[in-house]
């Protein structure tokens, strides 16, 4: 009922807001015809502002030689090297690691079975064996070592922080702000400075990964603690539990499954950093991908990327299964089985320490090279077949949509753009979103990269619109159809974890070096998360509601548009928001394929010492764009919600 009256009211109210917004945009276009080219704050590729130069000069200010950073570095280095010795590198005078491949597979399968179920145990064993068959065993184990170290440290830091943010409102607010910064600040921005603090080596790579990967577990832990029903906490308190007892006996057990989702997301994020961290010599699959790119070897890059995807899928399914498994005391039967399994694992480890065939993955199976050749052939075929057509699509979209939008944003005076965006924020959201928008735009002017920021904004807006459109269609489809979901899920996982560097070469062949190529890459990366969240929201719509709609004879289109989408609105808002953040996190990669603007500035700051400050400013500009768009979309969503 509520939704019906809601839609009536929206019909009354909505035109007024859209009319104002429409008038604003028309007025903007009219003003643009008059003022085009005035006060555009353009800055050349090699030009810098006083702020940029100041940042560059003070880059080494903190530097090394600090006992605190040194202690962290040494501890982290030791942790990673220890894991590498056990899993991947010849160690302790032996020509092979401490545990050979058979031992690793056995341990992985056993853990998957003990914490999850036998299905994921089989998956874990099969996945790891497949990676070995690809000829990438050692690289994969290096990657796994680094991932384990980064994830372990993320949890060590993230779970307590998450609990704190869950218990204290003030900590929650501060944490949200910092986590936003950590997730939107391009990794390229802090990659080079990190080597100043933590030296070149495993420590810097691990800490870079940690910065990027820790936020999800903090957020989800806090969210989980805050979602525990107040009655449960009250009940515990009234029974005389101390704070600590409430935490460990009530809050943590009740939030366990959500925390596991956080751990899972942290693992995914850590794996997606593999190729980026390779730029500061992180060992493993990332190196293979980057090396292959130097010779544009799509096949080899794909083979290594596939290994990352397989590892990601294994870890995802195992942690998901571990999260779903209810706490229960093990039965005697299970304990016996666990013990027997443990013994079998020990036997396998012993084999892997003793015999060469079980220690080093046999190299005579060439699945990897066959995958590489096939990937290359498919890519070439795709280029030959679609080549001309894709250029046409690119030109149509660029000329028809992107260039006009970009012209409007970049050629208008900066003050006009600021006024219009703040006004739009106030109209679509409220003054609450107008204030942060004004602050962000003001700071964007101060960064000195306003013009590049507007170029990036144009591409980002276009990419986000595509992501949301595709994400909602796929999300509704997979949310309503279990079979579609099980088919699409591995594809979505691949989209999220396949290093973008792998599909950049084929995309370059299809679309040339252009902003469109960057948009296409961002869409591939951002659609999975949007789809997953939308599907989740659709699935959460109460069955009774859908059946009520069906019983009055609604068509499936009506069910979707009048029932499922409106009810899942909250999930869709989150999906739009995450889609946006994912698109922004691809801006730097876009800079490597011809999108220029902020992405190029950040990459240039990483590569050239005199542009360091400008790169940092550009990185901050990306964060500012993210915060601004985030606040506007959230306020707009709140506003729509109010009327329904």
């Amino acid at each position: 009922m509520a939704s019906i009256t809601g839609s009536v009211e929206i019909r009354v109210r909505k035109p007024r807001r859209t009319v104002i917004a429409g008038v604003l945009v028309v007025g903007w276009v009219a003003a643009w015809f008059v003022l085009s080219g005035v006060d555009t704050l353009t800055i050349g590729g090699q030009e810098t502002t006083a702020l940029h130069r100041w940042l560059t000069e003070h880059r080494d200010f903190l530097g090394r030689g600090n006992a605190f950073f040194d202690a962290i570095r040494i501890a982290v280095d030791h942790l990673v090297v220890l894991l590498q010795n056990v899993l991947s590198q010849p160690a302790y005078g032996r020509p092979v690691p401490v545990v050979g491949w058979l031992g690793v597979v056995a341990i992985a399968a056993y853990l998957a079975w003990a914490f999850g179920n036998w299905k994921v145990a089989v998956l874990a064993a099969a996945g790891l064996t497949f990676v070995g068959l690809q000829g990438l065993w050692q690289e994969s184990m290096d990657t796994l070592s680094l991932t384990i170290a980064a994830v372990a440290l993320s949890l060590l830091v993230g779970i307590p922080l998450g609990i704190w943010a869950g218990l204290s409102n003030r900590a929650f607010k501060v944490a949200t702000l910092i986590l936003d910064l950590m997730q939107t600040l391009p990794t390229f921005v802090y990659l080079a400075p990190l080597t100043l603090f933590f030296a070149i080596g495993p420590a810097a790579a691990t800490i870079a990964t940690l910065i990027y990967a820790a936020p999800p577990v903090v957020r989800l832990t806090a969210h989980a603690i805050r979602s525990v029903p107040a009655e449960s906490v009250e009940a515990a308190r009234s029974l005389g539990s101390t704070g600590g007892q409430t935490l460990f006996k009530v809050l943590l057990p009740m939030s366990r499954s959500t925390v596991v989702v956080g751990i899972n997301q942290t693992i995914m994020a850590a794996l997606s950093m593999v190729t980026v961290a390779a730029l500061i010599d992180a060992p493993g699959l990332g190196q293979t991908v980057l090396k292959a790119l130097q010779t544009l070897d799509v096949g080899v890059a794909f083979n290594a990327g596939l290994a990352i995807v397989v590892i990601a899928i294994v870890l995802d399914r195992v942690t998901t299964a571990a999260g779903d498994r209810p706490w229960r005391t093990a039965s005697v039967r299970r304990r016996v089985l666990l013990a027997a399994g443990g013994l079998a694992v020990l036997v396998a480890v012993w084999f892997s320490r003793t015999y060469v065939w079980a220690a080093e993955f046999p190299t005579d199976v060439g699945v990897g090279s066959r995958i590489a050749v096939t990937a290359t052939d498919v890519t070439t075929w795709g280029q030959d077949v679609f080549g001309g057509f894709t250029y046409g699509v690119r030109d149509a979209v660029t000329e028809g949509l992107l260039n006009p939008l970009e012209a409007l944003l970049t050629e208008s005076p900066w003050w006009l753009v600021t006024v219009v965006i703040v006004a739009l924020a106030a109209v679509l959201g409220s003054w609450r979103s107008a204030v942060p928008a004004a602050v962000c735009l003001g700071l964007l002017v101060a960064t000195g990269v306003w013009h590049d920021g507007m170029v990036t904004l144009a591409s980002t807006l276009l990419a986000t619109v595509v992501v949301v459109a595709v994400g909602i269609v796929l999300g509704v489809w997979t949310g309503r159809n279990q079979r579609a979901d099980s088919w699409l899920r591995p594809v979505l996982d691949a989209g999220q974890t396949m290093p973008p560097f792998v599909y950049l070469v084929p995309f370059l062949a299809l679309f040339g070096t252009s902003r469109f190529t960057a948009i296409a890459a961002a869409v591939v990366f951002a659609v999975p998360v949007t789809t997953k969240i939308v599907a989740d929201g659709i699935r959460a719509v109460p069955v009774a509601t859908v059946e009520a709609a069906n019983s009055v004879g609604s068509s499936s289109w009506q069910v979707i548009s009048k029932v499922q989408l409106p009810v899942a609105r909250r999930a869709i808002t989150l999906a739009v928001n995450q889609g946006l953040i994912y698109v922004l996190s691809m801006v730097v990669v876009g800079g490597l394929v011809g999108a220029g603007a902020l992405g190029y500035d950040v990459a240039a700051g990483f590569a050239q010492s005199e542009l360091y400050g400008k790169g940092l400013a550009a990185g901050l500009a990306i964060v500012l764009l993210g915060v601004m768009l985030d606040r506007i979309t959230q306020a707009a969503a709140r506003r729509t919600r109010k009327f329904s």
């Binding site: 399994g341 036997v347 000329e399 011809g594 990483f606």
Partner: protein, 320 residues
Amino acid sequence: MTNKLLRSAGVLTALALALTACGGAKVGDAQKPAASGKACGTVNLTVSPWVGYEANAAVVAYVATKDLGCKVVKKNLKEEIAWQGFSTGEIDVNLENWGHEDLKKKYITDQKVAVEAGLTGNKGVIGWYLPPWLAAAHPELTDWKTLNKNAAMFKTSESGGKGQLLDGDPSFVTNDEALVKNLKLDYKVVYAGSETALIQAFRDAEKNKKPVIGYFYEPQWFFNELKLVKVNLPPYKAGCDAVPEKVACDYPAYALDKIVSKKFADSGSPAYDLVKNFSWTNDDQNQVAKYIAEDKLSPDAAAQKWVEANRSKVDAWLGK
């Protein structure tokens, strides 16, 4: 049922292991001969992200390991970060440096943590290049004066109505924006953003007969695949590039050189003498780069192949 399945799987695995496994070579059977590497020790070598550099690194590492018994640790780093490594002792050797006067000033003159170790013998050429088909079809394009007349030919969706001049990776040395302005060319510099994008653009241009003009450089493995043709800009004269904003001449010829850490230079390691003496031609480097990039040899195998065919050059580096 699941447990039953699991148990039978376990039993089967154990059986299979017992049957097949108890033979086979044991770990540590073949003892590797201990290299007498005491005199040389460890050499930390940065590897910059292009194949030409990797060719240098492969050959020097191979010779240092095989002939001098050094332990060579290769670290894959961007140039800027490798220079940082000189000051912290994590990098000993950079085998191919392109100019970078600012970094030389910072680390060699000011901080005194690095020193020059002579030329590599490679000549670095930077400039504007055309795909071979275009240079053959329009030979006049190799003179920069004809570029304005043909600007329309190089128009793309990215160049805003002007001709497109494609530039590469942000770490490349470039004056192109100033050149376009000062030579009054009706072109827009579009940053491809990576060497990968640049090579793909040239490859596509040659295959589909599209006009492209872009930044490129030699020595480069890609020349084995496609012989790009250089455009003649106003010739370089000493000092014509002194003021970056006013550059209106071609790029100078770069004599690529080697940089080592001060500590390594003073260590008396035989590897230092090897690095100092190391010198070869563009053809040599391209040859090894081809083994790596096109023939897909591992860097080590590529180095071995070249060293065996060029023993006399290697002996000269070793002072034999």
